[in-house]
């Protein structure tokens, strides 16, 4: 299909020409998704570890809940945030709707459950290995969580990347709370959606290729950082 060729040509053109609008959009995409991912990890990884170690009645239910929330539809999250931030909404006074902050909030809600569920899984084995030793040492939950997150950081990297992937690729939520306003809240995915609705598939694909290039860059950086510190992991 000619679109493919056109798309690639266009993509490289865009990247090469270092188009101002594009860089602006790319910048915002990274800003929003990285912020959301970092916050989600800061919140979700300790919670995931806690879920991996805690043994309480209803733990099963919580696990099911968290896992189910991985299926939270972006559009719904978008709506909830919209209703909360809309000028008529409870938090309307802050006037956050149609700002990058609103987009970060939406993505945060979207990926935090993913980070929790995956962290819990990633740390379960390590916990099973350490548990008796830690109980013998009478460590507090906080101490156990800290130790697990530290020694399990290599596995947690993948978890973080999964969260980032979900965030950077997501469109349903950000387009509702961001509004895809040019020069203000337009990110890669919303731009792609726009080009698609204009029927400019080549441009949409080109942007998609650029987005993937970005994802590749971020993952490359993170994982190479990982392999460097690998040895220190004392696997």
């Amino acid at each position: 299909m000619q679109d493919f060729g056109a798309a690639f040509a266009l993509a490289f053109e865009l990247i090469a020409s270092f188009d101002a609008d594009l860089t602006e959009i790319v910048g915002l995409s990274l800003e929003v998704s990285l912020a959301a991912t970092l916050i989600a990890c800061a919140i979700g990884m300790p919670l995931g570890a806690l879920l991996a170690i805690a043994r309480f009645r209803g733990r099963g239910a919580v696990l099911v809940g968290v896992n189910a929330l991985m299926g939270l539809p972006p559009v719904v999250v978008g709506l909830l945030v919209y209703l909360a931030l809309s000028r008529a909404g409870p938090l309307g006074v802050f006037g956050l709707l149609y700002t990058p902050t609103a987009m970060i909030i939406a993505q945060l809600i979207l990926i935090t459950p993913i980070v929790i569920a995956l962290s819990c899984q990633a740390l379960e084995d390590l916990h099973r290995e350490y548990a008796e030793q830690f109980r013998s040492l009478c460590l507090s939950r906080g101490q156990v969580v800290a130790a697990l997150v530290r020694d399990g950081r290599m596995s947690l990297l993948t978890v973080g990347l999964a969260g980032f992937g979900r965030a950077i690729a997501e469109v349903g939520a950000v387009i509702i709370v961001g509004g895809n306003i040019d020069h203000l809240t337009r990110v890669m995915t919303t731009a792609i959606a726009l080009e698609t609705s204009k029927g400019d598939l080549a441009m949409a694909l080109a942007l998609g290729i650029v987005l993937l290039a970005i994802a590749l860059g971020v993952n490359g950086l993170v994982l190479s950082a990982r392999s460097v510190t690998r040895d220190a992991a004392h696997a």
Binding site: Q133, R135, S136, A147, H234
Partner: protein, 249 residues
Amino acid sequence: MRDHAQPPPAWAGVEARAGFRITGLRLSAGGRALIDGIDLAVEGRGITVVMGPNGAGKSLLLKLMHGLIAPDEGQVLWAGEPAGEATRRRQALVFQKPVLLRRSVAQNIDFVLATRQRRDRTRRDALLREVGLAERAGQPARLLSGGEQQRLALARALATEPEVMFLDEPTASLDPASVQAIEEIVRAVSAEGMKIVFVTHDAGQARRLADDIVFLHRGRVAEHTPAERFMADPVSEPARAYLAGRLYL
């Protein structure tokens, strides 16, 4: 596990308070009785050696005494307190299979020191020297040799300065010299008043270390006697057979 607040039962005599008082201890899994009714009183000082065939329940007994696992029936009292978090905090257990953190040798010591708010380089290095791992300080603990790992685990236990130290076959894969060194350490700390509960299959080692010997067989205490007595002529048939190397589970 019982509520720590409550006072020790009336019958708990003074000497009982000092050491361990185990009554009607039972634990079963998969429909099998692993600990099959143990009553035992262990002194609060000195070295108690636990012997018995593979699968007799030695490791489980240690975990029960340490309050790591809860019995199905019966209870363990230490110094008049039911075994649990409170007692565990003042004890240390070196597992048969050392559980080492995915960190360097030194960091494994630092970690426990930190949990006791006693982080202290010099103390750490002293401990590593004591078990002959000074040169390995920077190496990933998981890459230590079998014997080195056991020694690290012991050093880590010592770092917590416990009142009771449970050692589950701590010299199983040590070379003769290390065995001697560890035995000296054990005698020394015990002399300073630390209670030692020591599991071994080595009759010679038992003879060298033990004040009293608990012989387990099929989850029961076959006999509990002073060391000399035991070595001279064990009263129980299983123990006699064991020492003769005849007892095969």
